[in-house]
């Protein structure tokens, strides 16, 4: 904590004096369940990308390539919105995602 700026060096009023700073903040620790993307099942309809409230679905050239776990809060909306017949995103208890 001693490396953080003192009260004289901070913007007053708790203002964050620049834009786009939420990208610098990791919310990985908020997650209880982790969305795990299964590329073999994904049809790249991008419903998850549309609905994700934290812009945490990573897309390249129109295809889902992964999940930004620094900004995913584990809300599960992506898994819910993934079409029922596809189910390319599975919510797994954090820490158990490698257990198969």
């Amino acid at each position: 904590m001693s490396k953080l700026p003192g009260w004289k060096d901070l913007a007053i009023g708790g203002v964050i004096p620049e834009g786009g700073t939420s990208a610098q903040k990791s919310v990985a620790g908020w997650r209880i369940y982790r969305p795990v993307h299964k590329p073999d099942k994904c049809i790249h309809c991008l419903r998850c990308w549309i609905f994700c409230p934290d812009s945490a679905i990573q897309v390249k050239d129109g295809k889902v390539v992964g999940i930004d776990y620094q900004h995913c809060k584990g809300c599960g909306i992506c898994a819910r919105e993934c079409p029922e017949k596809v189910q390319a995103i599975e919510m797994k208890l954090e820490g158990e995602q490698d257990k198969g």
Partner: protein, 388 residues
């Protein structure tokens, strides 16, 4: 040039708001404040001031709207009383901690219950720790002058804190008095333009207002508020002196009356001070060397000025129009005694006038008599005008 008008306190306050030309006003009616914003809305409807008036459904919404408007860079005003202030409680603190220079006349009324619409200071005393500057007015003239000064104080770059100007419900708010108003031009030139350094509407410099402030940051922001209150001390003095130089009515943190040689001195707030001065004259006729200190600024508390004003008193009585249950004496008493720490003089707590009960000259002469005979340091609170 200045002109003399017959105005109620509420009307005088509404004129001060009009002359400060706010960009935004948001308020909700509550007795005894209602007439104030009613009058202000009339000025807006008549085109006498170009203010955006936001209709809201509660005081919580009123202050919330003010916070948004002020963060967007608008000069912003509201007004309330008692239960209205209580309903906006949460956001009263947010306005101060976001450092938004909102100006709010507050018409003092007892905070329920049982429900009562008349004057005491239980409403504003309750939020003395909210981070707002508090300037209490004795009469309609002081309410008018202090509201004009409030904009200068609130918007000063070293301060940037909201300011409330409390004055006594009905006694001041609904009583006609002669008020010397400034011309619109003089008022505008004194108050000046509000030029916020940063605003939410400046899209080239985006910022976030009111983010989550967790343990590693919150304490530092509170310390900044402490500093702003300390800086406000000098600004209140400068603004009060400048007002005096330009318009002939000089303002400080407190006023003294016949304290130079006074043995017994009463400290009070608001409209009661006029009664106390009359009582001091009467007590002097009866051979008691009596004086009065009127506290005008309660936040930031003018400790050094108060100690100087009371330097020669042998005994001090503090009149509180509010009560702290479970504590002997009201908030003004405790703060006065705290600032006289280490003092061996008797300092006596009195509570009076709750729920608008009148206090008269004779009763305050009785306080001076009591002070004259006071010895020692332990004094239970006395209730003036209470039926046993």
């Amino acid at each position: 040039m200045a002109k003399l008008e017959s105005l109620t306190g509420n009307e005088a306050a509404a004129h001060a708001l009009r002359q400060a030309r706010p960009d935004v006003a948001a308020a909700y009616p509550i007795t005894p404040q209602t007439e104030l914003m009613h009058k202000f809305a009339e000025f807006v409807a008549n085109g006498e001031v170009d203010t955006e008036v936001i209709l809201v459904e509660s005081e919580h919404s009123a202050m919330s709207a003010c916070i948004g408007a002020s963060a967007a860079g608008a000069r912003t005003v509201t007004a309330t009383s008692a239960c209205g202030l209580a309903l906006m409680w949460e956001v009263v603190y947010v306005a101060a901690s976001c450092r938004l220079p909102i100006v709010m006349p507050e018409v003092n009324r007892a905070l329920s219950g049982p429900i009562n619409i008349h004057c005491d200071t239980s409403d504003t005393m309750g939020c003395r720790d909210s981070g707002w500057i508090q300037i209490y007015a004795e009469n309609a003239q002081e309410a008018y002058d202090s509201i004009l000064q409030a904009f200068r104080i609130a918007e000063h770059p070293d301060v940037l804190l909201p300011v409330m100007v409390p004055f006594d419900g009905f006694i001041i708010s609904h009583t006609n008095e002669p008020v010397e108003m400034l011309s619109d031009e003089d008022a505008a030139s004194f108050v000046g333009e509000y030029r916020p350094r940063r605003t939410l509407l400046d899209v080239d410099h985006p910022m976030t207002v009111g983010p989550l402030d967790l343990p590693e940051w919150y304490f530092e922001h509170k310390r900044q508020q402490v500093e702003a209150m300390r800086c406000a001390h000098a600004v209140i003095r400068e603004v009060g002196e400048e007002f005096g130089r330009r318009f002939g009515r000089r303002y400080g943190f407190l006023d003294t009356y016949r304290t130079e040689d006074a043995e017994v001195v009463i400290v009070a707030l608001g409209s009661t001070c006029g009664t106390a001065r009359a009582a001091a004259d009467e007590a002097r006729d009866a051979g008691i060397r009596a004086g009065v200190v009127k506290l005008r600024v309660f936040r930031p508390f003018p400790g050094a000025e108060l100690r100087a004003a009371l330097a020669k008193a042998r005994a001090i009585g503090v009149l509180d129009r509010a009560i702290s249950f479970g504590l002997e004496g009201g908030p003004v008493f405790h703060e006065v005694r705290s600032h006289l720490y280490g003092d061996a003089r008797p300092i006596l707590p009195f509570v009076y006038g709750l729920g608008g009960r009148d206090i008269n000259v004779e009763q305050i002469v009785g306080v001076f008599r009591k002070l004259q005979g006071a010895r020692g340091l332990e004094h239970p609170v006395e209730f003036i005008g209470l039926r046993e």
